[in-house]
Symmetry: C2
Subunit: 490 residues, 2 copies
Amino acid sequence: MGKNLTSRAENYSKWYNDLIVKADLAEHSAVKGCMVIKPYGYAIWEKMQATLDKMFKDSGHVNAYFPLFIPKSFFSKEASHVKGFAKECAVVTHYRLKNSDDGKEIVVDESARLEEELIVRPTSETIIWNTYRNWIQSYRDLPILVNQWANVVRWEMRTRLFLRTAEFLWQEGHTAHAGREEAVSETLKMLNIYAEFAEKHMAMPVIKGVKTESERFAGALETYCIEALMQDGKALQAGTSHFLGQNFAKAFDVKFTNKEGVQDYVWATSWGVSTRLMGALVMSHSDDEGLVLPPKLAPIQVVIVPIYKTPEERQATLEAASKIKQELQSRSISVKTDERDTHTPGWKFAEYELKGVPVRIGIGPRDIQNQTIEVARRDTKEKSTYQVVDAALKIEHLLEQIQDNIYKKALSFRETKTFSADTYEEFKEMLKHGGFVLAHWDGDPGTEGKIKEETSATIRCIPYENRKEEGKCIYTGKPSAQRVLFAIAY
Amino acid sequence: MGKNLTSRAENYSKWYNDLIVKADLAEHSAVKGCMVIKPYGYAIWEKMQATLDKMFKDSGHVNAYFPLFIPKSFFSKEASHVKGFAKECAVVTHYRLKNSDDGKEIVVDESARLEEELIVRPTSETIIWNTYRNWIQSYRDLPILVNQWANVVRWEMRTRLFLRTAEFLWQEGHTAHAGREEAVSETLKMLNIYAEFAEKHMAMPVIKGVKTESERFAGALETYCIEALMQDGKALQAGTSHFLGQNFAKAFDVKFTNKEGVQDYVWATSWGVSTRLMGALVMSHSDDEGLVLPPKLAPIQVVIVPIYKTPEERQATLEAASKIKQELQSRSISVKTDERDTHTPGWKFAEYELKGVPVRIGIGPRDIQNQTIEVARRDTKEKSTYQVVDAALKIEHLLEQIQDNIYKKALSFRETKTFSADTYEEFKEMLKHGGFVLAHWDGDPGTEGKIKEETSATIRCIPYENRKEEGKCIYTGKPSAQRVLFAIAY
């Protein structure tokens, strides 16, 4: 296993890219801006999907599927929506290829031009609300609580694996409600589900809050978000939940008859998380030796490496491995035994470190004699010797401890990297070292824009669980009712 | 529930479309040729996906994800492949929209034209084999057993919900092997998995076989398939598994060093099933009252309808419903109680008939008194009275019986609709009544073409478990070694 990872200290960005590629999570494809998600990376994404999908269904949502393509005219119907997405749209203009006249190459058949261009969906509000118009007549048809797992395309010039790619995978929830309050409450419910997923499953602490106007989703009245802090001190938006008001209902003429028999426009929300979470997961926990995966999302939770020299030792260690594997599996723990004799135990140790397997078991001839196994945890790299007799139970607890420890470590990192600035000078100084900076802001988008221009920092959110505290804007000195959360972000 | 389904006898094609729409499976979208899969339809697809995914994983496959877009030049690399797909490709030519000069509409930004056009994948052999080139150096890197769940686009002018749509959902397996035999064996293994899924889960009998040259996948050496017979006597290709030889390895220069240290091209297979299976499922079992779903794929296996007049009766029946629901759920049976008081029991009965729920339970005041429930099965429409005390166990068995009965009914239908023709006149006469016709064919694609032209029948496959039987081609009288399976197909 030629690891040769660049260290985080040396070059964080290169460390990230190296790690994604070397740990077999993903790679750049031949199509500019698009990635290939490799089997190991996809297995983590599948675990994320399964967990989220269950959370969505347990909270009353159902899945459906809407078209990949959106007629261009649909975009024009919600003014701020098209403004937000027009600059990054992949456009389908033709529906046929043919041989060139000289027969030497394949060319676009100009006679097969579409009457109206189709946009590859960057998000599906427009096509979905156009569909909802036919699904909704009365309050009895509401709420509609639909989610879609899909690929979307936003043309990006500068891409980074998982964090920013032209095509990415995501889920997008699109709900329709009879009243404003119900819609707002759905928006917040989903924000809380995202936060719970991030913290309990990804072991990634997040700050819940609401976006300022300039950071809002194109077409939303309010955008709520969860924000996480990466190890380089940059913030990452990990999920968003939008209260769309009646904007899309008005744009697509979706009305319902309420209980009083009066017609009104339908209220909407949308919410999504994407394969970007894979990048967040990697950057939250991993180290210079490789990935550190929280047990709840690790495709392999425990790997067993047999250590032997002779064929007899091989047989004995494999037998012992098989027993412990069965015991772990009966506790619903996913286990792999690496039986390959083409690689040394040392090579394998390094490989599973790189791949972030939470617990590694070594079994050698002396262990067989002593009825023990050697247990190494990936997060702290501590090693212990366990008696075989109660090993499975102890490993089950160990996995819980690791999940917990990774979360606490990330939380403590965030706490040491969250600052309060009272002056603009302080603010700029703090930003140099990375992290979240809580500071007063006068509420003016102009001020926000200037701070961004001068420091690259943006307001990540107005934290949802915020202490009200009067103060003065660090930039203009104007009065402010609370601190907002600034950071330089991905 | 205003059913008003057209009957099958009256207009089979309209019956199918009505049913898909009225049972809330899918509908046409605003985008020509693309469908919306509605929550109830998507829930069935999710069950199909989950079952297939487990079968793939249990047989050693892993999932991954490759780009939606394929550079146009990739298509030209495998000659027969491009020939097969060029005429139905959605082509992305631009990556930006802008405001028109008069500011009144949104137009394609001509300055944002792609250097090379991108094709929305109709299938992913080319992008995947271009990727595999970097994954494979030696025999140690083989086999690669990868599957992808994805959307694909094949521009179709005449579309039908689920059966033929411009965009559809599917899975595509793409495997790479060190030897021909291993690849052939993988091709057949997957064919068998598809057949098992069709018969055991969809309750749809299939005939396994190999396609003739003219029906082969573009780029394959052999295409194996499963063919099912629909109730109107038309055949439907339900899944294909392709032995691709070294065609794509040669086109994309994918070589490996074998155990002897010699370089060779890699051997390939690909295999897929799609949302077309949803259409096959509907057309295999459903009747003039609505869907008939096999219990293994039914999102709701048992529905409970309480029957009451007074509030006291309502409470009592709901309590009884809740008890039986819990007992069924503890046996992993999915149950819904329809508590709505906005609809009559009769309306609900019709609705769940339309939606194909395998078992319906009615509980009224007299049932409460007698400690009984009324159980109606959807497939035969038989009703029985069960004692509450052992109802759950009996319903569990009933679901198995229904699964079995639906399969047997479809099998017996196919048997009565499978004919042997010895002359062309007989052949044409048999085709008039629909069904499979086994007949001798001289092996010449020209003959096959003429028969198709004159009768619309195609060779669905050369059945895999075929009795060798010498005879004479029904069209040319030339010698033939076995009968092949003809039908008019979807």
